[in-house]
Symmetry: C2
Subunit: 336 residues, 2 copies
């Protein structure tokens, strides 16, 4: 049995999801030969630390009751620097302007010889190359399946399961909020504004939905795919982006008459004709990309296997946590 000591940095929906999944899956992990010990959890108020392993049930309970996990005022950075552990789960919120605090957390983790698994898109959309090089330099593993596609394992699919292939292009729906809005507008012939309000009521859209509906989130994910799968060296600003705010229910009805739907598609293509763009596109209803609701989907064109299509839930704290756990397990297996 291999013991891996880890910290959870950031304890919002994703961090709490990870704690729940680790609790639920203890037996499953033992069956895989892995003993995971969470030695520290942090949030913006402070940290709780136990070198022998925290009681995650108690930590979740304390967060629920008092709004914080803190039993000490150690910061996330203090934990990363000073608490002895192998692997950091970086689960702080995405800041697409600065990448912070995730960027500093991840780099400091590498410097201290700790592997990192993250769900935070900011650092990757801004500084992929630097992060890749730092991880390599310090001989640690860096994985980030949870940053793209929620539960849909597109990065690991392309890297590992399709390892024998060169990926030529990826087209996909990478934002569940936009897909929900466009699906509902089509199905119920409702206006953008009406469906956005409904999505906000359901917690599918944020109160400020800009990041999703203007295509920014999709563009960040595209940058991660471009850098990680296509070995490009690009940033958010390199993507041509159009959101969904100007799509009318009339446009959707017209599409419908021709047996099409409109979907917000992110597209990255390598080679002579390099493409990186996010835009609403007409998709035939029978096409594999024409998924509904909050689903995500990606169509990978490969040089040898041909086209491969994958779909799954695009968001949700447990779904994101499952992607994080898959990355943790891969790291544990590589380390044994």
């Amino acid at each position: 049995m291999k013991t891996i000591r880890l910290s959870i940095i950031g304890f919002g929906a994703v961090g709490q999801g990870v704690a729940r999944v680790l609790r639920n899956k203890r037996d499953y992990l033992v069956h895989l030969g892995i003993n995971l010990l969470v030695v520290a959890v942090t949030d913006s108020h402070g940290a709780c630390i136990d070198p022998d392993g925290l009681d995650l049930r108690a930590v979740l309970q304390r967060k629920k009751e008092s709004g914080t996990v803190a039993t000490s005022n150690a910061s996330s950075l203090d934990v990363i620097k000073n608490t002895d552990h192998d692997l950091v789960i970086e689960a702080t919120p995405t800041d697409i302007e600065t990448g912070e605090p995730g960027l500093t957390h991840i780099i400091e983790s590498f410097k201290h010889g700790r592997h990192v698994v993250t769900s935070n898109k900011g650092p990757l959309a801004l500084q992929y190359k630097q992060l890749y090089n730092e991880a390599k330099k310090h001989g640690v593993i860096f994985r980030f399946e949870a940053t793209v596609g929620g539960a849909m394992p597109i990065l690991n699919l392309a890297h590992d399961a399709l390892a024998g292939n060169r990926i030529i292009s990826i087209e996909g729906i990478l934002n569940g909020t936009c897909n929900y809005i466009l699906s509902r507008m089509t199905e119920e012939s409702l206006s953008y504004k009406h469906v956005l309000g409904e999505a906000q009521d359901l917690g599918i859209a944020e109160s400020d939905p800009t990041y999703d509906v203007e295509g920014i989130d999709t563009a960040c994910k595209l940058v991660i795919l471009a850098n990680a799968i296509f070995e490009m060296d690009v940033m958010y600003g390199d993507v041509e982006v159009t959101g969904i705010t100007k799509i009318t229910s009339e446009a959707l009805s017209l599409a419908n008459v021709e047996n099409n739907v409109i979907r917000l598609i992110g597209e990255v293509q390598d080679g002579n004709k390099r493409i990186m763009r996010v835009a609403p596109r007409l998709i035939p209803k029978q096409h594999p990309l024409a998924v509904g609701g909050t689903l995500n989907v990606a169509l990978l064109k490969t040089d040898t296997a041909g086209p491969i299509c994958i779909s799954g839930k695009g968001a949700g704290s447990m779904e994101t946590a499952s992607a994080i756990l898959s990355d943790i397990i891969v790291i544990c297996h590589k380390n044994t």
Copy 2:
């Protein structure tokens, strides 16, 4: 740069596909830090062996011109036992009654400390447990992505990319021939017999199509999924199987009126209600399983990530070879 020495045992469509892919991908493999040296290729007439690495172009040419690769009368088993190499590609044809000659090839490879990648369903559908235990006992890696779903990487998806999840059930179309026949019958309102003849002319169905159309091939793949992903210990005889030979164009037309298609679905489910069956089923046209042509598709229900759907080309020598190459690369990475 890591050098891995391998043999290709069996040089039909799959073995030749592997040789072509390895030739085409030499630069790509070097980029990944892998130097693959094919030191032996065998077919039913004999073998060609070169400890310094064969010229695959010449081997392919000789096979084409003379019908065999043989430059010596060494058998496949001789090569497995006596030629110094790390990894055996077992690509002989499937025999579902005995599993031979693949079964003996694989076990002897393990005994000689060689990793194995295979596309041969027979040994796995009959003796999964024995093979798994033998590989473990001899400390070698055994991978077989190419046995299920052609280019669609379902085994590696479930094992690696979705490692954090328990897979609850898998439903899928695992035979491209049946899917082609049912799709064409629906689209063109043609009889089973007519479309079968057409598929035979196109090389999509064998001259004796029993293995495909009676659901036997799907059942074998289901057994491999059951054993490898669900850790069951089952054999071909444990699957309830119905083929597609009795489906009439009238049944398909009736389904069509209700916006359904009929597809041959393999289904495996773990837990209290253990299910392993292959049968034609009504599938709504908008359902992710309703793919057409020779595509394969699988819908995996997972405990944490929710449903994940993947599709890809179900057959073809290059597609199968791409699955084999992905397995080879994973083994090379694990061995460095």
